[in-house]
């Protein structure tokens, strides 16, 4: 499967049009933010290629592109931490997607076992655990 998206015809179309025209970077990737649809907490930050975005929208479950493994990544396929999409948004210049999700399985999103990847505060230049 090869997913393709159109390019916006101009800046106005990009920022105000109804055409989904994601601007993938030189590596073919777009940024993605997943938040918990119920708590608003930011769960994780990851990347999507066109196929990952397309499958996310088609299936209602978050797919990303793993830069370390160089492959499509259906979040939760092995861990059970499937992310059901409640709402998907895109930003003004269409280079970042915001997914509001309901995490399945044990409810976590982070490979460390934490619920969110953002389990540390920056306080006076040091990191402090604060799940």
């Amino acid at each position: 499967m090869t997913a393709t998206f159109p390019q916006a015809s101009d800046k106005h179309a990009l920022e105000h049009g109804e055409v989904l025209a994601p601007r993938f970077d030189a590596n073919g990737l777009i940024a993605a933010i997943a938040t918990d649809a119920d708590t608003g907490e930011v769960l994780m930050f990851a990347w999507m290629n066109a196929e990952a975005l397309s499958r996310t929208l088609d299936t209602g479950e978050a797919h990303y592109f793993s830069r370390s493994r160089g492959e499509l990544w259906h979040k939760g396929a092995t861990s059970g931490q499937i992310q059901r999409i409640v709402e998907a948004r895109i930003d003004c210049d269409q280079d970042c997607v915001w997914l509001k999700v309901r995490p399945q399985g044990d409810g976590g999103a982070c490979h460390t076992g934490a619920r969110s990847c953002f389990y540390r505060l920056i306080v006076n230049g040091k990191l402090v655990d604060r799940p």
Copy 2:
């Protein structure tokens, strides 16, 4: 001013240590997500270089790196949309910062005039305004 940060000594230190050791990419940038500290809404996604991150933490106001202008960007310096930092977090592998902010000025964050850059839903493959 040249801001520098240490590198994590190993994966455990990166993921569980108390040392802030951001992993800047090949362009010297780290991803940054700003959410509204009161509503939880994602306001914007941007990039920071080491100086932007350092100034953000030192001043309590969000600084980014503008890739289009190639320069440090004190958010709100001209628009008045200063972002006061309520809380700063970093993710497991320290390549993304999450800022909870209180937007000053007119309360907006987006150059289009919208409160959040994510003012469009993706619905059945089309974009729909939903501020």
